[in-house]
Structures are given as structure tokens and as C-alpha cells.
Amino acid sequence: MTKKGFLLVCLVAGIFAASTLGAEEFFTANDLAPAQIVANKAFGNFVIFARSDKGVTIEAMSAPRVAADGEVFNNRIKLNGGGAADYRSIHFTAAGAAEVVVYANSSSKTDARPLAIVKVADGTVVAELVATPDDEKNAGTAKASLPGAGEYVLYSKSSGINIYMILIK
């Protein structure tokens, strides 16, 4: 093989390698139009699960919420109550072990609420995050480690939680 050919192959391999390495993936309410979701609806890799009696609301907020890391949110996904794998929840698939950052607040001004991340295949609770109360200014942030590739679902264990963004790193 010529030197040129060798370099060309490395370049291609390098490009190939870089493109197989994961980039950050996010799902933000900022990109969603206000709506009342009453049946499962997919947004790329993220699927909101809902039913007519257990609906999810996407709405604009009158004041933005700002997270500690500077992220700004103008809209929110209101889960409207406790959920399960098949309603009031958001599903997504991870390509491998990853860190997931959830930007969210409890819909209450006083009570924090538990947000579960569960591996769909076997129902194991991967993490139980805390959605902090909504002071109408600050967006709460919580992180969890996803153990490996697979489908995950996120839902409130009880009562309303508003999701601003899910970021998979």
C-alpha cells in the first residue's frame, strides 16, 4: 500500500470512528408546540406515553426557568400526575451506558417529588431523582447513570412533575 493510501484509510477510519462515537442527544420542550397529548406521540428517539384519561400537556410558561448551568426553558412538558411505563411517561433508547441529565421541577410550589427512571426490559429502577419545587424562576437539575444500552422510561412516582429537557450525554 502506498503512503497516500495508508493516510486515506486512516482518515476514513478516523471519520468512521468519530461518527460512531456518541454525540449529546437532547429532547427539549422549547421545540414542542403547545398541545394536549392524549395518546402516545413520538418525537424522534423520545416518545411521550399518554392516554385520554391520563394526558400530558405541553405548554408555554409565562416566565422562563433557568437552570444552574445556564440552560433556559420557555416551555414545559407537564406530566399531570403519577405515571407508569404506559402513561404519563417519556420513553427513550440509549445506545450504551450514558449519563442522563433531567431538567425538571415538581408542579408544586412547596413539595419535591420523586421522578423514577426505569429500564423497560426488566423494570429495574435505575434511579430515583428528586424534582424540586417550582419557584417560577429556577429549573431543577438531576443526573443519573444509565447502565447500558436499552429502552428507558421516566415518570413521576406520584403527583405532577414538569419536564423541561432530557439530555443524554
Binding site: A13, E24, D31, G70, N74, V125
Partner: protein, 1008 residues
Amino acid sequence: MKRMLIVLASCLAFAAPCPAQEARIAWEKVPGPEIVSVSLASDRPDTVLVAFRLEIGAKGADRATAIMADASGGTLDTKLMGRSAKEIKVAEFKPPKSGAYRFSIIAARTGEAEAKVSEIRAFEFSLPLAAPVVQARNSGGGAMLIAWEPVKEAESYIVSWREAIEGAAGSGSAAAADSAAAAAAAAGSGAGSLVVQAAAARRAEATVAGLTPGRRYDFVVSAVRGDEKAASKPLRKLAKAGAEREWFFTWFGQSSKAELNTMEMLDPDQFKFRHKSCTYNPADGQIDQKGGKYTAFHDGISFYYTVIDPKTENFELAATFTVDYINPVADGQEGFGLLALDSLGKHGVNSANHYTNSAGVIATKFEETIDGVKKTSKDTLGARFVSGLTREIIASGDAGIAQRGASLSRAYSYDGSDLIRAGQTYRLTLKKTNSGYHTIVEKPYATEDTLTEFIMYGPEKLLQLDPDHVYVGFSVARGCNVTVSDVSMIVSDPRTDPPAQKEPPQLVPLVAKVDSPSSYTGSTYPFVFASNADGRLTVKDKDRRAVIDGARVTALKDFRADLELAWGINDYFLTFEPDPEFRPGEKMAIARYDRELRKYVESSAPISLTHTVIYRTIEGEKLYAARDGSPFGDGTIEAPLDLASALNYARPGQPILLREGVYYPSRSVEIERGNSGTPERRKVLMSAPGERAILDFGYSSSGGMILAGDYWTIEGIDVRNTPENVKGIQVAGSGNIVRNVRTYRCGDTGLQISGSGAEPPEKWPRGNLVENCVSHDNCDPAANNADGFAAKLTVGEGNVFRGCLSYHNIDDGWDLFSKIETGPIGAVLIEDCAAYGNGSLSDGSGNGDGNGFKLGGDGIAVPHLLRNSVAWANGTSGITSNSNPAVIIERCTSYGNKGANINLYGKGDGARLFVARGIISMAGGTGDVYREMPELASADNYFWNGATCVNAEGAALGAGIFFSVDIAGVIPGQRADGSIDMKGLLELAPSAPANAGARLGQGWTTSK
């Protein structure tokens, strides 16, 4: 080819260490924001859309700020916008008035000092001229007062009118009506117009005079700005000779919103209007947005009201409500109704709650406890009376308002058939009389039992915040839209109306009872009588001699007297005469049940009772009782007594020894209050040495064992198989010791310390010790109440559980519940105890939601102490505060519970006072909960975080610190001395930290 592959592999290996994420593009290389367009929203001409291109995200800025400035560059409004994958972002602005505006975008990234700014785009905005919303009211003598809210930027208004053309209701375009009116005015035929200059007042108005009473007119008001005109919809109104009452529309309060809380007059002559508080999706009927809410002390509402002068006006307002829409998934805060308010909320203010006194007949959620049964209905019709609020009480905040204000809700019916449904009509009446406020609902088919009216006595209750006015009208909230029609408003003069009726008192049934035992072993008998009323007591013996003659009795205080007993049976005849002037409380009266009327009536009639006391003792150092014993026995081994006789006639210091075997009492075994030992000479009930007696209540009609006496020791017996909902042993007395007793398979809690909610806390059981007892497999029919051990609701100080084992009970291992109605209980000490498998029975049945140690309830702070104890494999939490914010947990182990091993949380705003020291928590179903006091994390506490048992310093513990974690295979038992033998299960090995975890019987001493 082979060479190519080797080269490729090397390149991949070389490429592998590349970072997993793309690096951010340098800020200087990120393109700045570019405004693409500034335009009006096609569907909202009052809104300007600024579309711009800017990357916000990992590859660009972190945020954008859109700015609207005036012509001189002064910032008027900004919109902060965050990450979005959309290429073009849109910021919306509502300019306040017509004029020139400048828009720009600033992009920023955290950590970068310089922002990037777009070019400035100018935009000439013309505020749409709105059409006025018009009201009309006859002001008397053929004059009509026309009123409307001012329109922004209107320079003047043209008010025009003409006689209505019948058969064409409010018809034609406004412009046509306008020009027809002008033409008709010129022709002089009952029409005309006039011009009103715009002014700064909140309301614009004009008076149209010279109308003919009995004729209908169409009125139009047009806003004028330059050449522009915006005309209102024509308002058709009947001219009348008399003046009409003025009505106003407002909205205010929590969650209310201008665009949701609205009112639309449909027919001003018939007083028919639409009243809204929400929007919904017509396709599926699901609610979209909700405006306002009804709560106990404040409302967010649409309110169409009139103002009453309370000194000169009583009223009766009646209306028919047709429900156009109600949230199919009711949340209990929506509804409609008639309200009279002490004070009015500020128009358009939803940022503050409007607390006020009120009387209302409203449809919303109602909840009451009637006859011990909790009833809920959402939504249904009822009365809501709010009183007692003053400015000071409102200023003291939610806690002060809840404590010192009164919000009384009474539903007319909790029947499912009376739930509010869309399409139905309801006729409501709200009345103010000299007695107070009456709320009335007409029922189509009223029966004898139908409630139709509630009364809040005392009209002055709505004159606390605004003494000169009462605001009366129609309301809707949150998830309900109605049409109101057939309104009738009748006003009368309080000075000539019937005088106020006195409020009837609340009836309290008379309690009068003897509270001393029916047997006694001494000649001087401590007689105790108790009543909830003051009165006079006379007690006569069998010869009708008064041994107590007209003695004064004070309500809720024990009356005590010593009576001399004759040997054997002593019969007494009591007469208690309640004091007719006595009142149990403000506006309350003592009552008796009238059998003829079949209800309670106020009564102070005397009550007669009989009471018999048997004075008897039995010789002997100890008394033997046996299954085949008899009341005629003498308590020897050869002639044992029956159990009941032994309990009645044993003297202090004369122990009762039960012979072995299974006893089948036919009713409850009761040690009465007053049948007591002394601290120095206790009464004792125990199995005979080397034997074990079993009390099996399987054939008992009424109950288990009730220990209401004091200073007893119950030792070495079993109690089992009590009937449904009957506890094994209830300890209601004080200073008792229950030792080495087993309670199992009972129809409710195995062993419970509790008194009576009808008695004051001084009479609640205190200072009892439950030691080395076992309680298991207790189950009530509803499978949600039977615990192993409990000390709940009505418990005094100083009760202790030590060395006890509670397992496989259908509810909890231990339950220390308290509730608001009865208040805090005395602090309980639980030490050297173990709880496992609660939530399911030993055979695996049960729905599994039981806790090991449940240490409180209802958010009430009680410093219960749980020490050196273990909880494992319980169906819910191992150790839970159950909202008690003050529990203390020391040196406890919690392992493998299905919920959280440790679950510490309170309720509401009160302080959290948890103390946790030396906890080892491992392998719980979920992470431990203590987020309300994160400072509980310490070097001494090894909490389970969902994945690891770790302390605050990061030191983790593994299962190797225990000799065994085989919670399925190892079953603990009891040693000969009664202490718990864990058999290695969850016993701490030498490698375990010295200052954490429980060590049952491992030499770690507890204080006695």
C-alpha cells in the same frame, strides 16, 4: 486486502481514545444572531413576531435575549429564550401602544464575556382598535345608562341607538345598525346618536334619555381613532320606567386569567348570560386551560355581582344554572354558584389570594365525616360558609387563617346520582335575612330526608372586612362554564323584615356512667362516676337509703366517693340530674335520644342507672384458675376458680396462676378500670410454672382481652383467634407489665395500648411495659389495620416495648399512629425489638403493604424513640416516620424491605426534627428517604442510596458485615429468658462499624 484491514484496525485503535462528545465550537466562530423577519401574527394583530436565526445549544450560544425597545432605544420588554433545535426561533411581543419600535437579539454563552448582537430592526406598530364591550341599565324615567370599558387609543366614542326591529334579535352588522341609527335619528324616529370624548376613567358611560318604556332598543358603541372605527355588537335592551340594579363583572384570585374568566351577556332583558372559567378541546371534551379555583378560605373566580347595602337591604337572589361544560376529570376545585362576599378581590389580580368571609351555595367538591363514615363527592351542590376572618388573621398567614377562621362545608347530598353533569340545570337561591344567610337548592323530587337549606346565622359575619357593603352574585371557577337564566333578585328592608331567629344549639348526647369496677376485694369501695354535663348525683342502696345525696358533679371530671360495701352483692340505684343551665360549649346543648321523634332533642331530664358491686375475697397466697374452674372453687389446685372469678377477686399481691391448656372464653375477658394493684403490690395473671395457658377467643361473641386496670402483670400466656376487628389484648390502664405473652391470628391488632377518644388525655394509658412478647399473623377483614403491636391515637407518656418480635401481621409490625382529631400521643420507647415480613401473613397471603416500624401519623410531632432494633423484609418501609417530623432512631438495622428501609418525612411547613444515629440500611427496594433533612447524612449513618450502603464520608458497607443475610431461610426465635434469638441473621460481625447498627442480645446494653 489483508494489509488494508490491519491498517484499518490500527487506525480505529488509534481513533478510540477520542472524547465521547463533540467539543463545542469556539465562541468566536459561532455566527451571531440574524433577524429574519419582524411581522404581525396573522391571527393576533396585537402581537409582533420576531423571527431570528441563531444556533442555541452545544454548537452555539447558551441563550438568546430578544429585546423590544421604543424609538429612542429604551428597552420596553425582553424575552429570554433557551436551547432549541429549530433553525428559526420566534419571540413574541405585545407592544403596549401604536408607534415605532426597535427589535434586536443578543446571544450569550456562559463563561464568555462578550455577547453577540444582531442588527436592530425597526417596526411600525398599530395597536388594533378594539370594539367596546357594552352594558346597559335602565336608570329610570325612560333613561338608559350605557357603560363600557375604555378602549386603548380610542379618541372618542359614538353611542347610537334605534328602536329594535322585532323578529331580528340584535341582528345585522354593527355598522349597519350604526348607520341606520344615524338615519333614523335624522328622521326623528326613536333613534339617535351622541359622541363621548375618551377620558381616563375606568369606565366610560353615557345616558340616553327619552326612551319609551316598554319598547326595545338596539344600542351600539363605536370606538373612534382618526378615520378608524370599531363598533360593538348591538346590545338589545328593553326600556323600563323603573331603575334597574347595577351589575358588574370582575375576575380575581388564584389561577384566574383574563382570557379564561369571562362573562358574555346573552339577553340583558331576560338577564341571561354565559359565565366561563375554562377552555376545552371540543373534539374530545378534555379540559384545556383552567381559570381560578374554589378553596376553603379563598377563591379565584369569574364573578358577576351587585353591591348590597347591608343596613338597608336584605335580598333573595335566585337563578337557574345550566352547565355547559364541566371538567370530565373533576379535580374538586371547579364549579359554579351564588356567592355573597364580605370583601371584593382586586379586579384582574391573580398573584395574590383573596381571603374573605363568604356565604355561598356552590357546586364543587364536598367532604364530611358523617356518623364516623368519611363521605366525598366531586362535584356536588352544597353550602360553604366562611367566617371569622379579620385583617389581622388574614395577615397572619395560612396557619393563622386555618386555626382561627372557620370554613364550614355541607353538601346537600353525597349520592352519586347528584353529581354535577354537563347539560343539567340547577336552581339555586341565596338569601340574606335578619337571621343570616340561607342557601337553598330546589330538588325536583324532594323527600322527607332531603336537605334543601343550610343557614349561616349572624349576618354580621360578612361585615368584618368591608362593613358597608356585601358583594352578591354569580361565580364560576376553574373547569366549568355555565349559562345563567331566570334570575330573580328581590330586595327587602331589614328594618321591616321578620326579626332574627336564634341559632339552634349543636346537640351533644348525654354521657353518664359509673367508672368503677363491678367487683372489689376491700370493704371501702372507690366509687367513680363520670358525665359530660354538670349536675347532681344521688346514689341509693338496696334499702333506698341515700349513700350519696344530690352531690355536685362537674362535667368531664370524675366524681369520687368511698362507699362501704357489705360482703357479697351490693346493689345501687343512681339518679343523675343534668343542670338545665349547663352548656357543653358555645352554642351547644346536652341532648337525649327521643324514641318517638327518632332523633336527638335538647333535654336535661334526669337519667336513672343501676350498679352492682360484689365484695368478695378468697383466702390463699395464690389463686389457681383452670379451664374447668368454677366460681364456687376456692382457688386451690384441687378446686381452681374460673378465669373471670379469679380476675375479679384476686387481691393485690395475690397472683393468679393459670393451669395449662386452651381456654375458650365465650366473651371478652375484662379487667375493669379500678380493678387494680398498687406499685408495691401488683396484681398478677400468669401461667402456672412450667405450664402455658392459651386464651382462644374463637368462640367469643364480643371480644378479646381488655386490661383497663392498673399495676397488673400479665405473663406467660397466649391470646389468639379473636373475632373480626377485635384486638387480642387492649391495654387501657396504666403501670401494667405484659411479659412473655404471644398474640396471634387475632381479628385485629395483636396487642394495642390505647384508651378512649371520648376521654381527656389524663385518662389515657401510660407507663406500661410490653416485654419479650411476640405478635404475629394478626389480620382484620379489610386487611389494612391489624398490626403486631400498636400504641396509637389515645396514649399517654412512658409506654415501652422492649425485646419484642412482630412478624407477618397483615398491616405493620408496630403502629404509633396519631391523628389531628385526638392530637399528639405520649412518646413511646421501642428498643431491642425486631419486625419482619409484615404486610403478608405467614402463608404468603395479603397485599403486602405493611411497614416494620410505623412511627406516627398526620404530620403530628412526637419524639418516639426506636433504638437497637431491626426491620427486614417488610412489604413497604422498614422504619417510617409516616409524616411524624420528630422521630428519633438510634443504632438500628434495616435490610431488604420492599420499599425504603428508612423513610423519614414530615407534612406541611413545620420544622423537621428527625434524629438518626448509627443507622445501617442495606438492600432496600428503593433508596432511603431523608431529603427533608439532608444533614442526617453523617459518618455514623450508612444509608442505602438505591445502589450502595454508604455513609457521608463515602465509606461503603457490604453484606459481609453481617453473619447472615439469609432473610428467606433464617427464622429468629426466642431464648428461654424471652429475649430474641436472631440466630445470626443480620447480627453484626466484628468487621461492622462499632457505632452503627443493632445488636440484639449481643452484649450491647440498653438502659432499663
